[in-house]
Subunit: 305 residues, 4 copies
Amino acid sequence: MNKLLDGIIENNRIWTKQGKVATYIPELSKADPQAMGIYISALNGEEHFAGDYSTKFTIQSMSKVLTLMLAIMDNGKEKVFSTIGMEPTADAFNSIINLETKNKQRPLNPMINSGAIATTSLIKGNSSEEVFNRILEFTRKATGNPDININEAVYESEKHTADRNRALAYFMKGTGVIENDVENVLDVYFKQCSMEVTCKDIARIGAMLANDGVVCWNQERIIPREVARIVKTIMTTCGMYDASGHFAVHIGIPAKSGVGGGILAAVPKRAGIGVFGPALDEKGNSIAGIKMLEELSNELDLSIF
Amino acid sequence: MNKLLDGIIENNRIWTKQGKVATYIPELSKADPQAMGIYISALNGEEHFAGDYSTKFTIQSMSKVLTLMLAIMDNGKEKVFSTIGMEPTADAFNSIINLETKNKQRPLNPMINSGAIATTSLIKGNSSEEVFNRILEFTRKATGNPDININEAVYESEKHTADRNRALAYFMKGTGVIENDVENVLDVYFKQCSMEVTCKDIARIGAMLANDGVVCWNQERIIPREVARIVKTIMTTCGMYDASGHFAVHIGIPAKSGVGGGILAAVPKRAGIGVFGPALDEKGNSIAGIKMLEELSNELDLSIF
Amino acid sequence: MNKLLDGIIENNRIWTKQGKVATYIPELSKADPQAMGIYISALNGEEHFAGDYSTKFTIQSMSKVLTLMLAIMDNGKEKVFSTIGMEPTADAFNSIINLETKNKQRPLNPMINSGAIATTSLIKGNSSEEVFNRILEFTRKATGNPDININEAVYESEKHTADRNRALAYFMKGTGVIENDVENVLDVYFKQCSMEVTCKDIARIGAMLANDGVVCWNQERIIPREVARIVKTIMTTCGMYDASGHFAVHIGIPAKSGVGGGILAAVPKRAGIGVFGPALDEKGNSIAGIKMLEELSNELDLSIF
Amino acid sequence: MNKLLDGIIENNRIWTKQGKVATYIPELSKADPQAMGIYISALNGEEHFAGDYSTKFTIQSMSKVLTLMLAIMDNGKEKVFSTIGMEPTADAFNSIINLETKNKQRPLNPMINSGAIATTSLIKGNSSEEVFNRILEFTRKATGNPDININEAVYESEKHTADRNRALAYFMKGTGVIENDVENVLDVYFKQCSMEVTCKDIARIGAMLANDGVVCWNQERIIPREVARIVKTIMTTCGMYDASGHFAVHIGIPAKSGVGGGILAAVPKRAGIGVFGPALDEKGNSIAGIKMLEELSNELDLSIF
């Protein structure tokens, strides 16, 4: 198995040259475009890995999966999905158009930026610090890694270059989708995106989802089974932005990407997978990460379809 | 099991009053809004049914599943998906906007009208009669029902009220997506939509897909495994139009609806399901059909997620 | 004055190289990209001209001005503008988006293709032949040129390459904007676009509008004063497609362009102007034609603002 | 003449009941919906007035005319119109869509909110206080009224309810249209909108534009002739938002409205007109104000077309 993973890394290294490291957040542009890592956390307890599996990177949009779980547990699914839709969209992850054109002015789903910011605004807490701390603690619990923290440089960088996210948030404030103070909500959002993880950490989150909400190392249930199922479903239809359909056809596993280069995948009943590769394709997904998952899915017949 | 199905019909009959029979094709408006049927064709050979399972209705958009299979087998998946995309959309099934706004001017996926018309244009044949006959024969083979035929009244009705579909087709002709004569392509499209089926017929098609391309009654493979997988995936992400995300979360089964009131569902490795109920919701999906599938999925734990 | 016009032609000849002759209608691509002509028909009876002022070219979208006059006279302004809007748009002349997105699904104005096709559908007549003959007779009357006729080759070429216009027309048929048979309406539309004119002819139409509806050579009123004013206003706000704002600021004269390379302009109380130059800019307007009008407007202080 | 104006007020009072006072800025909702005023400042020095012509109201979007003049004088027209377009749009005054969909991501024109905020960002000054003071001084000069000042309550109200304008501004910051600090730019924008004027004041601004940039009472030129012409042109094509086409056809005078209920109009070579009526139509224009201008234009033949 480790040999298989080593091979997958080598077979797909060539793809890193086709992609580009994210530059719109200056700190992210410092990543090594050729880095590649993979980590599998199987539900039977086995763990396999290869490449730069222990390199730290920021979780970015993969955090949307965690905040969606918290928001549903805090508010119930009815409240969450009357505020944010659950429909995939062919528009880009940072698109603002549907907020003006769709009748109900809801963000279309929790995996695009508008929907994710609205999701974060629903998480309970007496202050933005408390809200973020709840997200951080939940992330540590889901990964079994008490050392997870934010990368301060990335957080500051996000905060100062987030004009499009500010536009999305203020638009939603104007239409009533967001009820809280916009700057507080955005501060939590920038922090959640700046949490540093490894392939192992995200594989562990994927394993918990694959295991219907129970972490593998101590059998603790941290989210209800229904929440795990909802999240996996939305990852499948919306998790790879406007390449979600392509990913479903070619890989067929619930997954969520982040512009830091990570992809978090959950193979129901079998395993969580974390891959890493900071060179991105034009949709904002890790280019080598997708190719590694495609080869792995074909080799091990992982598609759910 | 039959008792379960009888119960599901009764439990959800109330929903038929919330929906409306399609009226834009005059012939469709004659359907009984209170009709409800269900048919399960399990891969182990068992068949179960209840309600109006033997009532005939036109296949409508469920035919998009059949033409997608034929188009891929005729042209290869590369050709099909360079002509038509595979991304879900939050726009309505008959929307024309993306044909103008998206860079490549491809229809977004084969399950919305624009993409389905383009798919039909790719099916081989020396004349539009030959193309349709190939679709009809394939449908008879996939259902094991040699008596399937078109409802002439519906076909004529479609043909004379299809201004929006004509607009979609001429737009795609103008951008080069469709290369054949538009009126010929549309004629095939109207005919494929007018084929009459029962819940049993569509359950059989679902069973073939669930069985990775092999029909259950004689173990004949009629499509390659990969084609079956692609089609099930696209049904999951795009099959219920701009309610696909909602359907995936609440039911979690690859499915395709038609405005005649049918829904064709494929539970991988387990069964095909056909449901029927002509009263539609505002998205154009059978309102009671969705509710019956939701109850069935919950009862039998059918979600793939 | 003739010297001024000769100079304007020479000063702006260089612009012809920046533009391209229309190619989407094959016949139009045969035009000489370097041709340039200008004709002024002053209300005091003076006429001035230079360059290829007697070269024939097809009237194309300038015919929208004539059909708008007829449609208003046939139906009254209330009927016309409840069917077609009078608002300028930043979308291209052949855009279909607003037909789906704007609440009332009306074409935005009579100068873009959708609105012009709807306008033609409102002109009275017992057959499409009669409708077109009324347009032809009106054009002959407005120009004082009984020899105007259609260019058959262009008409056939339009008819066989008009997929986008067909899409617009069928879309409007589907939403009820067009009530007549679509192919009949389009046949009239292709014919009206194929009428052959010279700079002199279009200058004469402009002079009639400048003179509030009265032709100069025999003082016959051919349209009411109010119709002339409405048409000049809509030419100002919408006549140069999505470059109308730019044209208003830089030239400031009511005008309408055609992809054959002509621009018809009406300087209120003073003169009609016809310019010609088949090389078009990216918006579909004659590139040298605009530059000639700009120089002329500056020299003679023609802006209405 | 005063009798004519009195009659116009009475004839159109009924329209005030069809409209609604703006409520999205809470302070504005306190206005008297039945108030109506009119003031004419003719270039020959005559002044006429009727109704609530001396009632103060906030200038709101009519300030866009003043900032456009300053921005052009500060930067030249090339710089201004390479940053902001000059094309009318059929979208609403606060629409954000075109900022994402149009190729160059420029706001379409300086009369809609996005374009006006970008225009303000171009006005020179070492601080936002200095920028606003320049606008205030210019407004006092253009009106001949040294007492003009901001309404502090409206300014505070704008500042706290301007989520949509914030969204527009941050979006443009993200695409590079706005280079300055967004909150500073918005602070100036809210202040410029909060300046209090009367019908007389805005009639005076209109007279200056009608007089090609020269104020009537002391013959001082305060803007170049070309700037006056550009501004009048853009008022004609874009000044009444997505009702600009309707206004041009029915009234035919360069004009700009504000949600405070004012309309500033400039009849070239003849007069400036200020009308007031806080009840607005659905496009955000004074409903009785438009009707009063329509009657006045018809009575005195003021259309420029």
